[in-house]
């Protein structure tokens, strides 16, 4: 490295300020140089700076706004282009690395020509950075909206299925990131105005506040990833489901035998190999302290009729009737989201519940969602065989009557 005597020793540091705090970064790097630590070429890696040992001396570090975006998909990994490198090396400025939206240069001669000699032009160069960060802000705001509106159609449904605390934490982290980008934009705007002499230099955060703001969400994201991986493992593991014949809890809604009506004379579970039919899984969430995921397939003969079919039901005991109503509406909203084209609403008679809706899907199977008090039941019922089929009004009516 020209003008600086290096030995092999290295040390690693966390920068005490964000990448966009130009003056903060320059002061910090120059301070490190005066202690004999010089930023290594390509010295930034996942937010950590690598320094190499040298003779303590005064050098100049300067940051220049990057004209083009960075990242693995960018040209030249976001490094300066050939012309920029040619111009800077001509005046003894060595390019080291890029951090965020800024290129970092070093010059061994403290008296050498400055990298930026015109504040108005330096302010002009920030326009490209601000434009990219505005795009980043829009994307940051998009993801929380996507999670709510597009992914599952409703907040309550998304929260219960992801687990409410996970959902809230993800939302908080996404909004935290959006706030960080907003803060950066505000800083850049103020910095630009200060370069033009229109405002004071922007106030800077203390290193402690910066560390807390930057690394807390990183740690939380890592923990969340671990939890989500574990949750995914639990979901894929079917051993958590109990066979209906061995389930000891009460099923709080009508089963196939109840739908058939009368006294059961014969019951034969359906043989559907490789599926989780004739099992039930119980789970819980803060918004719905008891939830059942129920799947039944059987040939039932009662004193009233013979019935062959399958019942798939999701039942929730919610924290309150208000939450239950929101959940029921979320189910309906999810059924007819613009990405699910084959949906047809079905009429239901007056039922003894607080809320009811029904629809037919791609396979022409009817699904109902019923809400009564703090309970919600979503059920899809299919029938086969030569026997006379029950109408939607009939089986939906039995389910509604069964809800306490």
């Amino acid at each position: 490295m020209a003008g600086i005597d290096m030995t092999a020793r290295r040390t690693y540091r966390l920068p005490p300020c964000p990448a966009y705090d130009v003056e903060g970064m320059e002061h910090w790097l120059e301070g490190m140089a005066e202690q004999g630590w010089f930023l290594a070429e390509d010295g930034f890696f996942f937010g950590v700076a690598a320094f190499e040992r040298g003779e303590p001396k005064r050098v100049k570090y300067r940051l220049a706004a990057a004209r083009k975006p960075g990242g693995v998909f960018s040209d030249n990994m976001g490094a300066p282009d050939a012309e920029q490198l040619e111009l800077s090396s001509r005046y003894d400025w060595e390019y080291l690395d890029r951090r965020g939206e800024f290129h970092i240069y070093r010059c061994p001669d403290p008296e050498a020509r400055e990298l930026n000699t015109d504040p108005e032009v330096e302010a002009l160069a920030l326009n490209a950075v601000k434009k990219r960060r505005r795009t980043a802000l829009v994307l940051q705001i998009y993801w929380p909206l996507y999670l709510i509106l597009i992914n599952r159609g409703g907040v309550v449904l998304a929260a219960i299925h992801l687990k409410t605390w996970v959902f809230l934490l993800v939302m908080i982290l996404l909004l935290w990131q959006a706030a960080a980008v907003f803060r950066e934009l505000k800083y850049l705007r103020r910095f630009q105005r200060s370069l033009r002499g229109e405002a004071e230099a922007p106030p800077r955060r203390s290193p402690a506040a910066y560390f807390a703001g930057k690394w807390t969400p990183v740690v939380l994201w890592l923990l969340l990833s671990a939890v989500l991986l574990h949750t995914l493992g639990v979901l894929l593991d079917k051993s958590g489901r109990a066979a209906l014949s061995r389930y000891e809890g009460a099923i709080p809604f009508a089963t196939m035998a109840d739908i058939a009506g009368g006294e059961v004379l014969d019951y034969a579970p359906g043989m559907m190999m490789g599926t989780d039919f004739n099992t039930v899984a119980e789970h819980r969430d803060w918004l719905a302290p008891r939830c059942l995921d129920y799947k039944e397939s059987a040939d039932v003969t009662t004193t009233v009729r013979r019935l062959s079919g399958a019942l798939i039901a999701d039942w929730y005991e919610c924290r309150s009737p208000g939450v239950a109503r929101l959940l029921a509406k979320d189910f309906r909203r999810y059924a007819w989201s613009p990405f699910r084209k084959r949906y047809a609403p079905l009429e239901l008679p007056e039922l003894p519940v607080d809320y009811a809706a029904a629809w037919a899907d791609t396979a022409h199977l009817a699904t109902v969602v019923l809400q009564k008090g703090d309970q919600v039941l979503r059920a899809t019922f299919s029938q086969w065989g030569p026997e006379e089929k029950l109408t939607l009004d009939q089986w939906a009516g039995v389910l509604a009557e069964s809800m306490e």
């Binding site: 490198l85 400025w93 240069y105």
Partner: protein, 108 residues
């Protein structure tokens, strides 16, 4: 929304356009010319020069003519010439106003 028009030329920008009046050249040659012409008073930093060249090329005040390795050459366009002459007229007017003021109120 219409794009913002080019900001008023700063001293550095004005001298860059002046340099390219001499003909096609690369950025470093333009910086050397400016330093000579101003007797060392105006020294362009490399980041400043790079930003100005990029901005002028985008605004079509300069046009790239040649790329040789890491060097890019440019020439001034009609639009660049017009911008230079407009700024020159403005600066002359400023000097004229200052001279008139000095005459009227006896300031040198």
């Amino acid at each position: 929304m219409p794009r913002k028009p080019m900001v008023m030329l700063t001293e550095a920008m004005f001298y860059v356009l002046m340099a390219f009046l001499r003909g096609e050249m690369c950025g470093i040659d333009a910086a050397d010319y400016i330093e000579r012409r101003t007797g060392g008073r105006v020294k362009l930093g490399p980041a400043t020069l790079y930003t100005i060249l990029g901005k002028f090329e985008k605004e079509k005040l300069l046009k790239e003519t040649l790329v040789e390795g890491r060097k890019r050459s440019y020439r001034i366009t009609e639009k660049g010439l017009a911008a230079y002459e407009a700024e020159l007229a403005r600066l002359k007017k400023c000097v004229l106003d200052a001279e008139k003021e000095a005459e009227e109120h006896g300031r040198n």
